[in-house]
């Protein structure tokens, strides 16, 4: 069974957002980049587990990004992954990203495509569903547990106010969140093997984006906190009602 794991590069969680060019772009100077945690800790690790248990025999990684994303891709290879493909494009349009990935995947043929539930930079969480549509596959989002039995996926996913267990035949696209797997630390063997695993670069399909980010804005500075004495909870309640208007 061949699994494709979609990896995206995102700024480290503690990065301060700094704008440049009058707010039309993000200043990435000094930013540390990491693998999107949902892609790494859940999607990729689950794929690795499926390979370790003999259910899958090949894991491929795909990233949409320019050459500066390669260190992060190699880190993913160090964790596990037989080969990686980088689609040489920059995209913050989810549709574009999905088309690039789907066009690549179509050429190979995967039984299971895993991605994180969303990327922590743009927080869209829709590329997986779009890829599924483009490949005419089913999609299950927000999975908290994935089991593969023969060629059927048994997925426990989050729903409004609870969880649901679904089954679906492969091939399938699943987006992953907490519960699917436990984050792993790349070991020495993997780190050294990463050098030798193929990282191929391919050109993106020629299509135009359907959305564009025009500008960014930082949230307004928060007015200082109003401290209330623990003796005076009536005052807090009154403020929540009359000032904050939340009760």
């Amino acid at each position: 069974m061949k699994i494709l794991v979609c990896i995206s590069q995102v700024p480290d969680t503690s990065t301060k957002v700094v704008l440049k060019d009058n707010g039309s772009a993000i200043n990435s100077q000094g930013t540390t980049y990491i693998i999107n945690p949902y892609d790494e800790w859940y999607a990729l690790v689950r794929a690795i587990e499926l390979k370790e248990s003999g259910i899958a025999n090949e894991i491929h990684l795909v990233t949409v990004g320019k050459a500066d994303t390669e260190p992060v891709i190699r880190k993913a290879l160090a964790l596990g992954g037989d080969q990686a493909v980088r689609i040489d494009a920059e995209s913050n349009d989810p549709y574009l990203t999905a088309v690039y990935i789907a066009d690549f995947a179509k050429g190979v043929g995967y039984d299971l495509i895993l991605c994180g539930k969303e990327s922590i930079d743009y927080n869209n969480g829709i590329v997986g569903a779009m890829v599924a549509e483009l490949l005419d596959m089913d999609y299950i989002g927000f999975a908290a547990d994935i089991q593969i039995e023969k060629s059927v996926a048994v997925v426990n996913r989050e729903i409004e106010g609870g969880e649901e267990t679904d089954t679906c035949n492969l091939p399938l696209v699943i987006s992953c969140q907490k519960g699917v797997a436990e984050a792993r630390i790349p070991n020495m063997r993997g780190i050294m093997a990463a050098r030798t695993r193929p990282l191929n670069v391919i050109a993106p399909s020629p299509i135009s984006p359907v959305t564009e980010i025009l500008s960014y804005e930082l949230p307004p500075a928060k007015a200082g906190v109003k401290l209330i004495s623990p003796e005076n909870m009536d005052e807090l309640v009154a403020l929540l009602h009359s000032e904050a208007k939340v009760i």
């Binding site: 969680t13 957002v17 945690p37 949902y38 549709y95 999905a98 922590i120 930079d121 927080n123 969480g125 829709i126 590329v127 569903a129 779009m130 599924a132 549509e133 483009l134 089913d138 999609y139 989002g141 927000f142 048994v154 989050e158 729903i159 409004e160 106010g161 609870g162 969880e163 649901e164 267990t165 089954t167 679906c168 907490k178 519960g179 984006p209 359907v210 959305t211 564009e212 980010i213 025009l214 500008s215 960014y216 804005e217 930082l218 949230p219 928060k222 007015a223 906190v225 401290l227 209330i228 623990p230 909870m233 807090l236 309640v237 009154a238 403020l239 929540l240 904050a244 939340v246 009760i247």
Partner: protein, 324 residues
């Protein structure tokens, strides 16, 4: 021209966030001289459907197929597409929730439509079709322009207040032929967390962290939540230590919530936690440590021990509720 809005229900009622979606569509429709057509899939009462008129829907297209009572994303996408084609709609509204994010993208792909998720504003038509959304896990906003002819917006719940108006929507049946392959996902089991307020859409959330010292102290949190009519949540260390169920974990790698009121008890306010809650309208922080970083992100703060503060606060809320 009609704005299509996907409206979900639980068979009995249509909840607040879905009404917000209708109202959102209606505001945009008024700006562009369009009408609003709500799309309802599966079995629900006529009264509920008609009431969408009170939030600006002129018409409801009802796909009255019992198979659609459960979410089947491919099927929903087909149904929504059929509605869009029938109305020749150029704008589709859905919610930025679990089902919206699974269904709408499929329709967007079918229509090669640009999609903006997590919308926090009405589209700015002067600049094109520009929508504000939250990015970098709440650390910034982005203004995104949709350039395609057909457009899809996923609205963030609890962004705009609801205003009921006079109105009654006309119900029209929509028959859609579905293919067997569209029902590929079979539901084996459903576990609803009953009797409690679901976290994702709760207006008020009371959340506990490591400062609570242990799971045995959570009664204090639950009492306050009960009095507020709130959902309960927790920080990551608490979920990792299994003091609370994992679905309560809010933060960078847990859930993201945007309640009107977020009460954080014994949570220091690490950046990863803030990422899950920085969209809250009002934040109250209760902590024994006056240096806790969370105070910098809070609107109101109480420096004190949860074991003393929570019962007092619960009593104060109870008093407030009685006099309401």
């Amino acid at each position: 021209m009609s704005v299509i809005v996907l409206v979900e229900h639980n068979g009995r009622a249509i909840n607040k966030k879905n009404l917000e979606a209708v109202q959102y569509a209606s505001v945009i429709a008024q700006k562009t001289g369009a009408t609003v057509t709500a799309v309802i899939l599966g079995t629900v009462g006529a009264r509920e459907m008609e009431s969408l008129g009170q939030y600006g829907a002129q018409k409801v297209l009802h796909v009255d197929d019992a198979r659609l009572n459960d979410l089947h994303t491919r099927v929903y996408a087909c149904a929504l597409l059929a509605a869009v084609q029938k109305e020749n709609s150029k704008l589709i509204i859905a919610l930025n929730d679990i089902s919206g994010r699974a269904v709408a993208p499929r329709v967007a792909v079918k229509l090669k439509a640009g999609l903006v998720g997590g919308a926090l504003s009405y589209p700015d038509l002067d600049k094109g079709f520009v929508i504000k959304k939250s990015v970098f896990s709440g650390k910034a906003f982005a203004y995104v322009n949709i350039t395609s002819e057909i457009k899809v917006i996923l609205l963030t719940p609890n962004t705009f207040p609801l205003n009921k108006i006079e109105g009654k929507a006309a119900i029209e049946k929509l028959n859609v032929i579905f293919e067997e392959k569209d029902f590929g996902i079979k539901v084996k089991e459903v576990n609803k967390v009953t009797g409690e307020v679901p976290l994702a859409d709760a207006g008020i959330v009371v959340s506990g962290g490591r400062g609570m010292k242990g799971p045995e102290n959570w009664g204090l949190i639950e009492d306050l939540a009960k009095e507020f009519g709130a959902a309960t949540a927790c920080s990551r260390p608490v979920a990792d230590a299994h003091w609370r169920p994992h679905h309560e974990h809010v933060g960078q790698t847990g859930g993201t919530i945007r309640p009107d009121l977020y009460v954080a008890v014994g949570i220091s306010g690490a950046i990863q936690h803030l990422a899950g809650v920085n969209g809250s309208k009002t934040i109250v922080v209760i902590n024994t440590d006056p240096e806790a970083p969370f105070f910098k992100a809070a609107n109101y703060g109480v420096v004190g021990d949860a074991r003393e503060v929570l019962p007092r606060l619960t009593a104060a809320v109870k008093k407030f509720n009685q006099h309401k």
